[in-house]
């Protein structure tokens, strides 16, 4: 069909698509500029739409769940790393708000085609893909692609449709409802967290193919050009640019090992004796083919590589970057970068998030180590540390839901609930989302970041390890404020759909990014405004989580007991670890700083101040509104708590 497209301006493409996959109905409407302004596009708008439109008892795999694609307000514009696209739905991993994003070219392509948001509901009657070619929008039969691996499917679709289409696909993992499935694009960019690929699969949506030939109007092109040109000039001569381009994030593996945070053998310890074999240097020496960048970026942090293992066909992939390098490397006891790269390719191709996937395999390996699962459960196979063959077979059992694989298909938390016998202690997740590639036992702020992250134990919202090092790794003092500061600034990049590495690594200040945002949108906001809106989004997502899961927030915020029962046994962190009292103390501090009550429930005072009275009313109806604050609203916002290390 030909979709009516509406004029865009101020960074917006102009049109929102609503698609009912059950009926095939496609509607276009002008993008709600007020909604985009108030919720900053991207993650914020996704949070508001999910809150408003998805019933609290809706099954994440059911027709009432929405699957939203958002290109944000800055993606596709003349701005460094303006390449992100966000996905959102109620997460099948956490049963709360879920969002994830990726770089590449899809976000800009969607906006060039004329669309800011694509909101999908229902379940297609048969395998389907969404085809967008400027004003042509169609749901097409995907029977010929269903069952293909993600990395196999993309070139086939490009051959069928045209090389200039941007493609995002899921693999068999998403098709089969594996709850930690990802979405893949551009031969190796993934939206991995919170099981967005599984939601796509539940809707029988195999892929999204987009070609856009239009352009985006910005509010003040002259100012934007001036400001961005200055950023380009500065970052091109940044001292860290050359190492970044050479090694990407993988250079960080050795540092993480020598500073006692790298997860090793399912977070049993934080020091890997064979780190040289999986380091960034090993990646460059053994696997690197060439460097790769996203749309509008000159950082080239992506690495096209190959994995060569005896007895296996050579495979080509993008990565491993740090997270995959740690979670599919040291965390699985893999000693050779080619093993890690091969597993990276395997999980990418089946469509399984390498971070959660690495965590789930590691949990299975520790269960095998402890005799909680045996070869009888594994079709006669072992599941030993450092064995690619064992890991590959186990992944196949999970993807195809064979035997015990069925129980690991729900992620680490659900697998531990099935296996029991104390395995919950080392199921390394919070709220159902597996931990990222950092052990927080000797980095208390990092542990608090996992505990309180709105999508489960993910580093995306806050990463505090250098703050922990600077301010004391054995004290919890001040960590809540640091975590909250980061939880407000980092998600802003996911709202605006730009990469945060320019801020974190290349010294572009938040004020400069807000300046460019104003050039694009004409919003005329300040950095303080941005922090407050980010806090509003954070609180709304918390309310959504409580309303869906119907218990005090604190009950969901604990890490597995390994966090306080097991001290780190080896390496530079030997003997270090948290106590339960420290875990409790960090939660107490965090809730107090946020203006939530000691049970972890947001108070009406804070929700009112953020313009979320409707959410306060909803919490009150189910008895989960936080108790009134005896000392009023704490001053938690903006840069007041900006840590020294930033």
């Amino acid at each position: 069909m030909k979709a009516e497209r509406f004029a865009g301006s101020d960074g917006l493409a102009g049109t929102t698509l609503r698609i009912n996959l059950t009926t095939g109905e496609i509607k276009s409407s002008p993008t709600d500029t007020k909604l985009m302004r108030e919720w900053y596009g991207g993650r914020g708008v996704v949070a508001k739409i999910l809150y408003d439109e998805v019933p609290r008892d809706a099954d994440p795999f059911g027709p009432e769940n929405l699957f939203i694609v958002s290109a944000g307000v800055m993606s596709g514009c003349f701005i460094p790393a303006g390449a992100k696209v966000g996905f959102g739905s109620i997460s099948p991993l956490t049963n709360g708000h879920g969002d994830s994003n990726m770089g590449g070219h899809l976000g800009p392509a969607l906006k060039f085609a004329g669309y800011d948001l694509v909101i999908m509901s229902g379940i297609a009657p048969k395998p389907t893909y969404l085809f967008i070619d400027d004003d042509t929008v169609e749901l097409r039969d995907a029977a010929q692609y269903w069952g293909m691996g993600s990395l196999e499917c993309e070139p086939v679709m490009k051959k069928d449709l045209g090389e200039d289409f941007e493609i995002a696909t899921i693999g068999p993992s998403g098709e089969n409802g594996i709850r930690f499935s990802c979405i893949t694009h551009d031969f190796g960019r993934q939206a991995g967290w919170t099981g967005q690929g599984a939601v796509m699969g539940s809707k029988k949506l195999k892929a999204i193919a987009v070609r856009g030939t239009g352009s985006i109007k910005v509010h003040d092109l002259a100012k934007l050009t001036e400001h961005v040109s200055a950023i380009i000039k500065r970052t091109k001569t940044h001292p860290n640019m050359d190492p970044w381009q050479k090694y990407g994030t993988a250079f960080f593996i050795e540092w993480s090992n020598s500073n006692a945070v790298i997860p090793t053998r399912n977070f049993q310890t934080t020091h890997f004796e064979s780190i040289d074999g999986i380091s960034g240097e090993a990646l460059v020496e053994k696997c690197l083919i060439t460097h790769k960048a996203c749309f509008g970026c000159w950082m080239n942090c992506g690495k096209y590589t190959k994995a060569v293992l005896p007895g296996k066909e050579t495979v080509y992939l993008e990565g491993p970057e740090y997270e995959t390098g740690s979670l599919c490397g040291s965390n699985l006891g893999m000693t050779d970068i080619n093993q890690v790269a091969y597993l990276n390719w395997l999980l990418d191709n089946v469509g399984m998030d390498t971070m959660s996937g690495g965590g789930v395999i590691a949990f299975g390996m520790e269960c095998f180590q402890r005799g909680l699962i045996t070869t009888d459960d594994l079709e006669g196979h072992t599941l030993n540390w450092g064995s690619v063959e064992d890991a590959e077979h186990f992944v196949d059992m999970i993807v195809h839901r064979r035997g015990i694989g069925q129980h690991f298909a729900g992620g680490t938390k659900r697998a531990a609930e099935y296996i029991g016998r104390g395995s919950e202690k080392f199921a390394m997740q919070v709220k159902g989302q597996e931990m990222s590639g950092y052990d927080g036992r000797y980095a208390p702020g990092m542990m608090l970041a996992y505990m309180t992250c709105d999508i489960g134990a993910h580093h995306n919202r806050a990463w505090t390890i250098t703050v922990d090092m600077a301010e004391g790794r054995e004290t919890i003092e001040g960590r809540a404020k640091v975590v909250i500061y980061l939880q407000h600034i980092r998600p802003l990049f996911d709202c605006w759909c730009i990469c945060r590495l320019f801020w974190g690594e290349l010294d572009i200040e938040p004020e400069e990014i807000v300046e460019s945002l104003n050039d694009i949108t004409g919003w005329n906001i300040t950095a303080a405004d941005a922090f407050k809106t980010s806090e509003k989004i954070w609180n709304l997502v918390r309310c959504q989580y409580l309303e869906r899961n119907r218990a005090d927030g604190r009950t969901f915020d604990y890490p597995p007991a390994r966090a306080w029962e097991d001290k780190i046994p080896t390496g530079p962190g030997a003997g270090k670890g948290l106590t339960f009292e420290q875990v409790e103390g960090m939660l107490d501090d965090y809730y107090a700083c946020r203006g939530w009550d000691p049970k972890g429930n947001p108070s009406r005072e804070v929700l009112h101040d953020l313009g979320l009275d409707f959410a306060a009313d909803n919490l009150e109806k189910i008895g989960l509104l936080g108790k009134p604050l005896p000392n009023g609203i704490p001053a938690v916002r903006g840069e007041r708590y900006k840590p020294k290390a930033f």
Partner: protein
């Protein structure tokens, strides 16, 4: 001899640049390793994830020569 240390990101403030936004000039006796140079300016090497000299990786035991520029890379703030 004179050594130029460069750093950005989280390391920049710790380095206290005095030449330009990223660069600090250090006057020090010859024959010192990077570890000794960092110690002399009270910069904890734990905050350095990677050392780059003339496009090549070096470690803390490397002894720079007069006039060389040493790039100190901080850890990525969440990969």
């Amino acid at each position: 001899m004179t050594i130029f240390l460069k750093a950005g990101g989280q390391l920049r403030a710790k380095l206290n640049p005095d030449v330009d936004y990223y660069t600090r000039k250090v006057e020090i006796d010859g024959g010192k390793t990077i570890a000794e140079i960092l110690d002399a300016i009270s910069l904890n090497p734990a905050f350095v994830a990677l050392i780059h000299v003339d496009g090549k990786l070096k470690d803390l035991s490397y002894t720079p020569s007069d006039g060389q520029t040493i790039i100190l890379q901080p850890p990525v703030s969440g990969g």
